[in-house]
Structure formats: C-alpha cells, structure tokens
Symmetry: C2
DNA sequence: AATGGTCGGGACGTAATCGGTCCCGGTTGA
DNA sequence: TCAACCGGGACCGATTACGTCCCGACCATT
C-alpha cells in the first residue's frame, strides 16, 4: 500500500515543488519577521513576481499578514509551519546530500532527486526533469552573440532521453543547435545521441546536426572520415559546443550493449574499467583506460567547455558516477537519492584508505 | 497535528481537484477498457483537449497504455487505483450528498464543498470558489445577443464577498453588468451588494450599476424613490437580470445585523421566521413572513430568472438554507458538507412528521 | 473488398495566464 | 526631514491552455 504522498508523487508530481517553495517562504518569513517583497525575493533567489504571487496566495490562505511595514507569518501560519516541519525534513534531506556531493567532487552544482532510478521509473523521470531544468538555466545564463547559435552537445542513453522529453521552448534555448557529442556508438536508435539531439531541437524550437558515422570502424577509418567535408563540418561544430549534457554508464554494461569485441573487453578488464561516459572508459580512480574510436568531442574539448552537465542515477551506478566525476570535467551533476548516498559512502571509503 | 492532506488543502488547494479529475479518468478508463479520447471525453463531460492533456500526462506517468485501439489502464495504473480507492471515498462522499440534496429540494445542480464554514475559513473560501465557478459556467452557457449585456444580480453578505474574490475575467462574463439585487439593506459597506457588484465588475472586466437608496425608509418613500429616473433606470435593469447570486442568512441574525426595529422583530417572531434571502424573511415551511421595504428584485422577478444560484454554508445555516429552498426559486445551490448533512436531516424529519 | 466509425497524433489560432519590470504613494525609522 | 523600504497597481511579452479540425491507421461490419 502506498502512502498519500507517494500517490501524489505519481498523480501530481509538481505539488511537491510547490509545497517546498511555499514552505521555504513561510520559513524565511518567520525567521525574518516583517520584511518586504523585494528583500525577501532577493534572499530566496526568486524573482519579485513569483514571490509576489506566492505571498498573495499565502495571504489569501490566511497564513501571512501583510502590513505596511512588511509581511509576517500569522498565527495560523506558525501553527501550520510547526505541523509541516517533520514531513519536510524528509525532502530537505536531499539538500544536504547535494552540498556534501558538491564538496566531495568539486562540483559547481548538484541536484539530487528523491528515489532510486534503478527501481522507480518516477525517479528517472525526475532526473530528466531536473536535467532539463538545469540545461535551460545554464543556457539562459550564457552570454551569446546574436548570430552565433548556442551549441549543445548531447550523448545517448535512456536518462538523456528523459532530459529531452522534459525540455520545452524557452528563451535561453531559442535557436540552440543540438549535436551528438560523439558519432555512432552502437546503441539502439532511440537511445542514440543523434535521435535525442533531434528531439531536443524539436522540443525547444532549435536546430540539430547529425554525424552519420558507421559503427565499428577502426582508428584509421576515422581519420579518413574526418576528411569528409560533411563529417568534418559537424565535428567542428561539436567542438564549439559550450554546454554538454551526458549520461554515465557502467563500463561492462555499456560494453555489452555496444557489443564491443573481446579484445576491448580484455583491455577494459585489465584496466579495471568501471565507468563509461562520452565513449571514454574510466577506472575507479577516474583514469581513462579506453576510448571508443569515433569522431566528435575529445577530452580536451570537454575540458574547455563552459558547462558540463552529468545526468545519472540509480544505486547501481554510484561507483561509475564517482569514477567519472573524479576525472573532473563536470560542472553540474544531476543524480538521485540512491546514487548520491552510495557515492558518499564510496568517497569516504576512498578517503580512509 | 494536521494530516498531510489537511496541510495540502491549505498550501495547495487545487491539487485535490487535479487528483480527483485524474482519478475519475482512470476509473472510467478501467471500467470502459480500450476507449478513445472523444468517447471518453463525452462520457466524462470534459472537452477533448483537456482530457487529452490528462491522458498524455497519465501516459507519461506510465499509468495508461495507449494503443491504436484506444487507451487502457496499465498494471501500474490498476495498482495505483486500488491504493487510491479508500482515500477517494472520503472526497466522493460529497458527490452523493450533492445528488441527495438535488433530489430533496428539486435543484438543477448542487455543489458541496468539504468542511464547515462556521469553523473553517477555508471552507468558506471553497464556497466562494465553487460559487464563482458556477456563476462563470452559467454565464458561459447563456445565449446572448451581442449588444445586450448579461445582467447579474447580486446580494450582500460575507459568502458572496468570497464569490466575488474568486471571480476572474472569462469569456462568459465578458461585458456582464453586475447590479445589487436590492437596495440598501443596512449592512456594513464591505458586505453590501453594491460593493460586491463593483468588485465583481472589476475582476471580470464588466460593468456595474448601483442603487443609491437610503436605508430605513418606509413603503411610501420607496414608491417616491421609484419615480426618480436614476433609481428607476437601475431598478429596470435589475429586473432584466438573467442570473442571480445570493446568500442565505438566519432570520434573527440578519435582523440584528440590519438593526431592524422592534415591531419588525415581533413580526418575524410571530411568523416563525428562520431564514432571510434577498431581503425576504421565510419561515420553516418556506413561506414569506416579511419583506424588507426597498427597491429592486421582487419574488416574481426571481421566479422568471434563468439561473438563481444560492451560496451558503455552515452547519448553523442548514435550517435557513432548507427554508429558502423550500420556497423554490433556486436552481443551483453551493453549500458545504456540514450544512448539507444537516439539511438532509431536517428534510427527512419533515418528511416523517 | 469496400466502407463507415473510431482510434491516436498533429497542427493551429486564440484566450488566458505567467512572470519580469517599473512606477507610485504611503509608512517608517534613522 | 528624508531616504529607504513597504504593498499595490499596471504593463507587456512569453508561455501555456484549450477548442477545434484534420489526417492516416485500424477495425468491424457489410
């Protein structure tokens, strides 16, 4: 039997956010006493208008009193706040996880959604939603020349599909150009980066480019391909990408899905590969032990990038995520509660050995 | 300590509606099996588009599967539905109350909101919201000549203030003309019908007219006033009203608030007055025992009206509401759970004696 | 095999809402 | 006395919601 809250998370997923927002406002307001809209909005990092809408709502519910000197929480509001405190603790536990992860892996920002993507499809959707939100925000924050489209590099995987599905048209992403970070990597077509890039373009009203590169070609064939003008052109665009959104996979799982040859498997095994991202395989220390031979982004391109967003969750991926983050290209991580908890355990174990 | 649900009812009142809507869709869908959008929309009385948005959401949550033959509830949906059933019963209890009230008092439609307006301010707000929704719907359903504004007659009272506060601009009410149903009845200004009419006009973008009639004048003075062109003009407009929205009060309570003279009090007492509405006082049988002398709507005008909406709640008003409804001018009743339950008790008592 | 009805999905224009921004007159506290 | 801050009002572009119609696919009946 599910709880009321779980049912709501399925049937009306946004309410949790709304509740959290209003709770936060009430809390700050109780702490700050009589304070005005602009001051409060600045303190909470909200825009004046949305905070205004919220406070007007809270006023209409009789939870805050509005006086000429400012707003303050009413008796009813204080009582409600007290009743909410315990049930909010659970949700705000995530904020603490975020801070600890950001510190442990040197990230600019971390978002942790509740649940475990391994077991709960909802958690995966939440990952996608959060990823889409971060991408949108990152794009909005970029300074852009008018004539130059914002290039966003995308990898494949089911998690990134979720990100694509939660994107929508916005100012920041208007006219953005979505490109696959790397060429064909032998996935199913609906999980391939090209498919995802086109979805994103469609949903945001942007454009996209594809690299039509055959799978399973050798290093020398890549060199030949790169001299093709079509491929070359797209590859050049990809290297101008300012944002990248990528998933993270377990090394062997990815190798299996991509049907890599026995020789490579052996290489991964001797190298102790645990993680895959962007077609690179990493060991637990975050060192690259193998690189899929295909065109597109190289590690140094990723380093140059302004915002690299990793989206991956599920307890089973914790080790892989930690490994990739140790390599240290990422700026933003979107993950779930299960992975976050496990990652912190890994990282404290490493620190102690 | 409040329950999660009660907290939500305060902090996010709309979710209950959303939940109910989605639950209803799931339920009907489970019952109907594979069925299409249009068919389902017709069965549920929704527009095709909103049902589509909902089913797309339900699909995105994995609760329904969409096939070429139609939509059907998925395994996960069935399990969720089972979990929801008990918690929904509580909310759907209200639907049953609505049906019984409609049958008992011969009403076209009844809306029962949860709670007790006597004790819970939220219930009163819900009354206002439901009243505003019904008014909007009634207005939208009217056939209107282009050049003739839709006239809506309004009474006073705190409940109708709530209705006004929940109105917003809509197509149906565009250009509507709000008028006080009757002249000054000696209330506080913020509870007077004129004030409310102007609020409604402002919120909907419509117009309003006021009757500037002094309080406490005799019958003969009324006749004189009616010959005044200004008064006369507005009174004529009022009588063309096609919709009325009114509150219902307890007889003595209203008499007290309006500071009526001792003689009238005596008249009310001998007549057994229990209820007041539109300035008319009713006994338990629904007979008019007194009429406040002022200009505006007469009982026969109300009879002619296309839609008369009564909005009143609170257990203490149950008897008064029942009395007014027995007179039988009303088409639509908006009330709350406490009043609804008590009214049904009254009505069954009456039937048995 | 033909056909009429219903299916999901796509598209489009308009109404309504949201949200960023600025302004204003009043209040307050230094 | 005055500057800073207050709530409320207003405006406008961006975004969303929604009514409506169309299309090709599919199915059952003819």
């Amino acid at each position: 039997m599910r709880t009321v809250l779980e049912i709501q998370r399925v049937l009306a997923p946004d309410v949790v956010d709304v509740l959290k927002k209003r709770y936060t406002i009430l809390r700050h307001l109780r702490h700050a006493g009589a304070v005005g809209r602009r001051t409060l909005a600045a303190a909470l990092g909200m825009s004046e208008r949305v905070l205004r809408a919220e406070t007007e709502f809270l006023k209409s519910q009789g939870l805050v009193d509005i006086e000429t000197s400012g707003m303050r929480v009413s008796e009813a509001g204080i009582s409600l706040l007290a009743d909410m405190e315990p049930m909010m603790k659970e949700w705000f536990g995530l904020a603490e996880l975020e801070d600890r992860l950001a510190a442990a892996f040197g990230l600019r920002q971390v978002v942790v959604v509740p649940g475990d993507a391994d077991r709960d499809p909802l958690a995966k959707r939440e990952l996608g939603k959060a990823g889409a939100a971060e991408l949108t925000r990152a794009a909005a924050a970029m300074e852009r020349a008018d004539n130059e489209p914002l290039v966003v590099a995308i990898t494949g995987g089911s998690t990134i599909v979720e990100v694509a599905d939660h994107l929508s048209a916005s100012q920041g992403l208007k006219g953005a150009l979505f490109v696959p970070a790397r060429g064909g990597l032998g996935e199913r077509v609906e999980l391939q980066s090209g498919t995802i890039a086109s979805t994103m373009a469609k949903r945001t009203g942007g454009g996209y480019r594809l690299m039509h590169v055959p799978d399973d070609v050798g290093e020398e064939a890549i060199a030949t391909l790169m001299s093709e003008p079509h491929i070359r052109e797209v590859a050049d665009i990809v290297r101008c990408a300012r944002i990248a959104v990528h998933g993270i996979g377990e090394a062997y799982e990815m190798a299996r899905r991509r049907r890599v040859d026995a020789e490579t498997i052996q290489k991964l095994r001797t190298g102790g590969a645990v993680a895959e991202s962007f077609g690179y395989y990493y060991n637990r220390a975050g060192e690259v032990v193998h690189r899929m031979p295909t065109v597109g982004l190289r590690l140094e391109d990723i380093q140059r990038m302004e915002t690299v967003i990793a989206v991956a969750g599920g307890g089973s991926k914790a080790e892989a995520i930690a490994a990739v983050l140790k390599n240290g290209q990422e700026d933003v991580l979107i993950t779930d509660e299960a992975a976050a908890t496990a990652m912190l355990q890994f990282s404290s174990l490493d620190a102690s050995t």
